[in-house]
């Protein structure tokens, strides 16, 4: 698309045609706060935090959904805009239970970030009582609707990204809340626990149960890797603190999954730290497997392989490689069987 030019806050800026005002501003280093907008859920317009003034248009316009036009004159930080944003954030704080102290989302919460940005210490409105029971019924996901800001991201995630069609918006007005199926607890619903909703939730309304209390967002190192389950090869972020994986999220900016995962990829990581993991080489002695040193186990094995090869020929030894280990390991195993043992008896579980 051809570039168009417009004025934002008195600055002459350029943006590709078809961009929203929000995108145009972002490309040019102008920050407009958002809550419901996310690049993966796209058109939003629910939180109204990204409002701007556009010369010639009445009222305020949501920059996340209005297309930038050639010659448009946009203001993003007038008093009216700032006051509107402050009002909205204060209303959110008054109408929900937002306590950052123990909230799992602290540090990655977008409401917290916006409040910080606007300098809101506490809401000037009285607190309206909201006390919805926390839904703990799902083994993987905690739903605390007191922290929900009705941004619709989880609903778009569930219906348009993962297309599992479990979530929708129930009731109306101030009673409006996200429901699973016919307002069932998540663990009793048709939810397949892909966690797309958790990944896209901007606050602590949806959190990973296993991650609770393990680490603050800023304490973890994020390591990009490839999922160890099926052949799709989803790209993951492992959130690591003190040599422990505390959480897994999807990597949003790459193929093939662009952030999507399934229950196994997102929640099936704790086998890594299972106490049942093998920690030492084992050697069968008097019929029992006993812990031995690497030296002993390797020497024994090498000796036995050599003996058998000597006695029965290289084809009496077979190797089965692993369809779950790395290419590099598979290659080395293949090379070992062919170059060292001297046989083509190498196969792997290619079929299951």
């Amino acid at each position: 698309m051809k570039n168009i030019s417009l004025h934002i806050d008195g600055k002459y800026v350029q943006t590709p045609g078809g961009s929203t005002i929000l995108a145009a501003a972002k490309q040019n280093g102008i920050h407009i706060p958002t809550l419901c907008y996310h690049p993966r859920t796209r058109q939003a317009g629910k939180c109204r935090l990204c409002v701007v003034e556009v010369k010639g248009l009445p009222g305020l316009q949501v920059s996340c959904s209005i297309q930038a036009q050639d010659g448009m004159v946009v203001l993003t930080h007038t008093e009216r805009i700032i006051e509107t944003r402050k009002m909205i954030v204060e209303l959110y704080l008054s109408n929900g239970k937002h306590n950052c102290m123990s909230c799992e989302a602290c540090g990655s919460c977008e409401l917290q970030a916006v409040a910080y940005h606007l300098g809101i210490e506490k809401s000037d409105f009285p607190a309206v009582d909201k006390d919805m029971p926390v839904d703990m019924s799902c083994p993987m996901i905690i739903r605390d609707m007191n922290k929900c800001i009705q941004c619709y991201r989880c609903i778009i995630a569930c219906n348009d990204i993962a297309v599992n069609e479990v979530l929708d918006m129930g009731y109306r007005g101030s009673k409006m809340t996200v429901v699973c199926d016919t307002d069932k607890p998540m663990g009793k619903s048709s939810c397949v626990v892909c966690g797309e909703c958790v990944q896209l939730c901007p606050t602590g309304a949806l959190t990973e149960k296993k991650a609770i209390g393990k680490a603050r967002h800023w304490e973890t190192e994020k390591v990009r890797t490839t999922c160890p389950y099926c052949g799709v090869g989803c790209q993951l972020q492992l959130h690591v603190k003190d040599n422990e994986i505390v959480k897994v999220t999807g990597a949003e900016d790459v193929e093939p999954n662009y952030g999507s995962l399934c229950i196994k990829g997102r929640f099936g990581y704790d086998f890594v730290h299972s106490p049942l993991r093998l920690k030492s080489p084992l050697l069968r002695k008097d019929g029992r497997l006993e812990e031995v040193s690497w030296e002993e186990a390797l020497n024994f094995t090498a000796k036995r392989f050599s003996e058998i090869k000597q006695a029965h020929g290289p084809d009496s030894i077979v190797g089965i490689g692993c369809a779950r280990s790395t290419n590099e390991s598979a290659y080395v195993m293949m090379k070992f069987m062919r170059a060292v043992i001297g046989t083509n008896n190498i196969d792997h579980c290619a079929r299951t």
């Binding site: 069609e165 479990v166 979530l167 009731y171 429901v179 199926d181 307002d183």
Partner: protein, 161 residues
């Protein structure tokens, strides 16, 4: 539960409208008319018949104030509580009826006969006060006329028994 007859009518809605989406609201209203309210099971059944997610059906059913997700009395009285209706008449009609039936708003009488609830404008502002019993509309109400109507219902139900 959606029985065979209701299912047939619903399938008729699907055929009648240019798009099956439009069958959702008429189906929910129909279910309520037949069953008195829309139960969880009804919504699950409807989801399967129409091929929409349960959540989508629930989202619609829980949005509209005329659809009940819980059972109501046999005679569900909805009284306008908006401006024009509270300017005229002898006093708040809701308080009068709730006093007469001995139940609070939102409740059902122990015999299951009546339930009452305030509603917003019924479009009878010039003929206030107004109320609806099930789907029948009543205007220009006085306490006396309300007494009469309730008594008629009582009598009808005694003779029916």
């Amino acid at each position: 539960m959606i029985d065979k007859d209701i299912k047939e009518i619903i399938e008729g809605f699907v055929k009648k409208f240019p798009c099956r989406d439009s069958a959702v609201l008429p189906s929910l209203s129909l279910i309520q008319k037949k069953n008195g309210y829309v139960s969880e099971k009804d919504m699950e059944d409807l989801s399967r018949i129409l091929g929409f997610s349960e959540a989508r059906i629930f989202s619609a059913a829980s949005f509209y104030s005329m659809l009940n997700l819980k059972p109501k009395g046999k005679y569900h009285i909805q009284i306008c509580s908006n401006v024009s209706c509270s300017l005229t008449g002898e006093g708040p009609l809701l308080d009068y009826i709730s006093g007469k039936l001995g139940i609070k708003e939102g409740d059902t009488t122990p015999d299951g006969l009546f339930s009452i609830e305030p509603v917003e404008c019924l479009g009878s502002c010039g003929y206030a006060p107004a109320m609806i019993i099930n789907s029948d509309h009543y205007e220009n109400l006085s306490f006396e006329r309300v007494d009469e109507m309730i008594n008629v219902i009582y009598e009808q139900n005694i003779t029916e028994k």
